[in-house]
Symmetry: C2
Subunit: 345 residues, 2 copies
DNA sequence: CCGGGCGGTGAGAGCGCTCTCATAGACGCT
DNA sequence: AGCGTCTATGAGAGCGCTCTCACCGCCCGG
């Protein structure tokens, strides 16, 4: 209240005056463009320091049409994002990358259809240079919204439709799933079950496909669908146990579901990994390292994926519309996964 | 790429022209001010719809000096925020409140001292109307930074210093701790231990104080310090068990630490709650409902606290500097806690 | 029938910045 | 010495919006 520097934030004009140059020159120095004599540049820089000048972003945006801000849109129905730290990790990666490029992160959480309109308006309003979209279901309208708003977009996770110029970053869900199952096979397990995620999400489908790649003729009763929650994992495990008491291994499509499965196995008196081997997916460390026993899982580098999303988006934003210089067109990114061996399998 | 409405985002001028009014009148309608004849207003609104007009926020900010955006600053060293969903829940509350008031949420994550400078510059740059600060230690310089930048601020959690005009929102840590201990006492427990959080955070200190309020003469060996991680909880529990094998109850300063303690108790062959009763703090549902056994804990309404922070900040921002109308001065908020009984105590 | 008030509207100044374009020197060449 | 060529700098036009202020009718009271 007392300390408002509000009253008189210095303007470029003031800096210029103090340095004895024109506003144009001051601007050039501030923005680091070439061709200002060193002596002058130094004078300007000193003036900036002395005055504590910080450029007014609004004024800048008004003329450059760049916001140096991107939106991170999280479709809330997908409560998974708040139940496990997946989202937080990804945001951290995004934040780091954006910070490195002097961009701001505007967080948009949506809840219900009404919010979609709000987000649509916001994106159309040109407040941000691009958008990162999360947590989409097959029929999600968010990407279309963003496209209609003319805002470059990168999606977290492979979207459910195919479309040449839809950019996304995902891990190799299918390959990771194959690795998981092969690992179980290598352990000598023969009655291998799968707890899938909700099948309206591509990650779930891809992991299921990977499972089937390795075990095409697996007993269909050995597959159950969960919902990416511990509860869902436990229920799926219970169903599996009832249908096939001889199950000797489980590949759960997420660590969180695996933790539920682990609990159910313990309840039913099975030992892990002796009686039933369990393997998860994601390597959410705060889950996988803290289950009992610690979870063998398929690791995806979540934070790095966040970074990549940001990087990809920034590149897309920066790409001149009609590009003469033949930069390679931005393309979706699929990152490798890695088996992390702990105690559960 | 193809669908850029970039080229020609309609301006107020265009709306005015189409509606056959002046820009001033169009502006009045768009901003909902009184005193425009209904017929004209209607014409303007139609023009807005037809053109798909969205106000240019940068231009607006340039003249009004309001951003309709607030920053959420999270000091990262405090990794707790990414290890448990505490932060995510709080952000959700904040987001809801901001959305309801047409404000945007700019997320600033910091990592290391260099980032503080960046944040300081950002705040000083007048990009946001206010800031929400999280995860501060006793000696944190962030609040001073914000104050120097002249940005209204609300802090998440009681800060370590006392200062009449520092606004914060916190739960009644001390009272909650008292309730926890009394509950244990009511269960007939007599060797009650406490696993404290890091004592450079006020939440930890307050909870410890609450513990001591009820048990002023408790054996000092029955108190151990953790670090708000499962690991820390487990280690603290191990130490407690070694020092006082006769311990029959534990109050952990967080659910996450309680989960570690639970694991350690199981490892040591203790039954919960029969041999040792355990109670946590926070009621992070994804932890407390999923430990084995489910955790009795002290609940704080995290999302609501987020809302309150946002509301408090928005009120502060809106408050005219020299206020003639005698609105009650904004004050810190301390919310009540509630014992949630599950199986562990 | 006239003057004052008042509600509705428009003209225009500016918010702080970037960027184009003109200009003033400095320099190399013929 | 004269000319063109550069390079460093400044002047000034806007970006899209809000807001003040002047203005124009209209209504009411006298």
């Amino acid at each position: 209240m007392s300390d408002q520097s509000f009253a008189s934030r210095p303007t470029l004009e003031a800096v210029a005056a103090r340095a004895g140059v024109s506003r144009a020159t001051a601007s050039r120095v501030v923005n680091g463009s070439e061709g200002v004599r060193a002596a002058l540049a130094e004078r300007v820089r000193r003036a900036v320091d002395e005055l504590g000048y910080v450029p007014n972003q609004a004024a800048r945006t008004l003329v450059t049409r760049r916001n140096d801000a991107i939106a991170v849109v999280v479709a809330e129905p997908e409560t998974r994002f708040f139940a496990d730290p997946f989202f937080a990790q990804q945001v951290r990666g995004i934040s780091k990358e954006l910070t490195a490029h002097d961009n701001q992160l505007v967080l948009l959480l949506t809840e219900g259809a009404a919010d979609y309109q709000r987000v649509g308006r916001y994106l159309a309003g040109g407040h941000v240079d691009g958008a990162l979209l999360f947590s989409l279901h097959d029929d999600d309208s968010l990407p279309m919204l963003a496209r209609r708003a003319g805002v470059p977009t990168v999606i977290g996770g492979r979207p459910g439709w195919s479309d040449a110029d839809t950019l996304y970053v995902d891990c190799d869900n299918r390959g990771g799933a194959r690795d998981a199952v092969r690992h179980l096979l290598g352990l000598g397990r023969r009655r291998i079950a799968h707890i899938a995620g909700p099948l309206d999400q591509t990650a779930s489908v891809d992991r299921l496909d990977g499972f089937r790649d390795v075990l095409p003729d697996n007993d269909p009763r050995l597959t159950a669908e969960g919902d990416f929650t511990p509860d869902g994992g436990a229920k799926a495990m219970a169903a599996l146990l009832e249908r096939c008491p001889d199950v000797d291994a489980v590949f759960a499509a997420s660590d969180v579901m695996a933790s539920g499965a682990l609990r159910m196995l313990r309840t039913s008196g099975r030992r892990v990994p002796e009686d039933v081997a369990v393997i998860g997916f994601d390597d959410i460390v705060s889950v996988s390292e803290w289950t009992d026993p610690p979870l063998t899982t398929i690791r995806q580098d979540i934070e790095e994926m966040g970074r990549m999303m940001a990087r990809l988006l920034l590149r897309t934003v920066a790409a001149p519309a009609a590009n003469g210089t033949e930069t390679p067109a931005p393309a979706p990114i699929v990152t490798p996964t890695q088996l992390v061996r702990r105690a559960s399998a």
